[in-house]
């Protein structure tokens, strides 16, 4: 069963000066959903890391691309997808194709620039990465911390 959600997508030029703009948008959406201050700060960092990665790839390849940031707002969580290839994605279709992220043994210690993925993994509840015609990072943050079990009754005010 698919839960209803609101979907917001923004596209920014793959340039460093737009990372902060995307970050503010995500912060606003997370605030709308009622996330705590700390959760919002976590999401700001995690999404900035993903967008920074995308911008740096584009820069390396000397492309004038765009970064697409898709946010799905559910009642209990926010899903954020960051893609470094220009075209808009079909949110549901892309979500089906992303796989789990395994590679955490890679030594991030004292190595400049290697911390981004580690931070996303630590600050978000779930992360998946898909390599196809570009890189798509898919991450989820649940309201009220970790995912609650299904049979636990949710209290509504």
């Amino acid at each position: 069963m698919m839960q209803p959600y609101d979907y917001v997508e923004i596209r920014v030029p793959a340039k460093a000066q737009y990372v902060g703009v995307a970050r503010l948008t995500i912060s606003g959406l997370a605030s709308r959903l009622g996330f705590t201050y700390d959760d919002i700060e976590d999401m700001k960092i995690a999404s900035s890391e993903a967008i920074t990665n995308a911008v740096q790839h584009a820069y390396k390849d000397d492309e004038e691309g765009e970064v697409v940031v898709g946010c799905a707002l559910y009642e209990d969580r926010m899903e954020i997808m960051v893609a470094d290839h220009g075209q808009s994605f079909d949110f549901e279709e892309t979500k089906k194709n992303v796989g789990p992220y395994h590679d955490h043994e890679e030594g991030m210690f004292l190595r400049e620039g290697g911390l981004g993925l580690y931070l996303i993994e630590t600050l978000m509840d779930e992360i998946k990465i898909h390599h196809d015609e570009g890189v798509t990072v898919f991450m989820t943050k649940y309201l009220g911390g970790e995912q609650v079990e299904k049979d636990v009754e949710t209290v509504s005010s």
Partner: protein, 116 residues
């Protein structure tokens, strides 16, 4: 979005005061400002981040690079004024183990002219 970096010397300690947000756009500015100080043998540097509202791995990367550079010259870098948010960033990356950092509350150094 802006980043401001000021340098002053006090009691042979080089004090950098960083104000603003450190991300992919402003990190190169920070790196450049830090490099304006010639790293001399045994230099003592303090970097005050109490007015940094946002930082991610791009900022950590700059500080790690700077830390290594100063250490190679037998100097020392201390990062001060960390908010709980920023402190957490150093903690979860394990950088608190290798770098000399100090949070807001501890306030041991007498250098801050804090206006409360």
């Amino acid at each position: 979005m802006n980043l401001q970096v000021d340098l002053r010397e006090e009691n042979s300690v080089q004090h950098f005061k960083v104000v603003g947000e450190i991300d992919a756009f402003t990190a190169p500015v920070l790196r450049e400002k830090l490099s304006e100080l010639t790293v001399q043998q045994g230099v003592k540097v303090e970097i005050d981040l109490s007015d940094v509202e946002y930082m991610d791995s791009t900022g950590l990367g700059v500080f790690v690079g700077y830390f290594k550079q100063v250490k190679e010259s037998g100097g020392h870098v201390k990062i001060t004024g960390l908010s709980p948010r920023l402190k957490r960033l150093f903690d979860i990356t394990g950088l608190d183990e290798v770098m000399d950092i100090e949070g807001h509350q501890e306030d041991k150094g007498g250098f801050n002219d804090a206006t409360v």
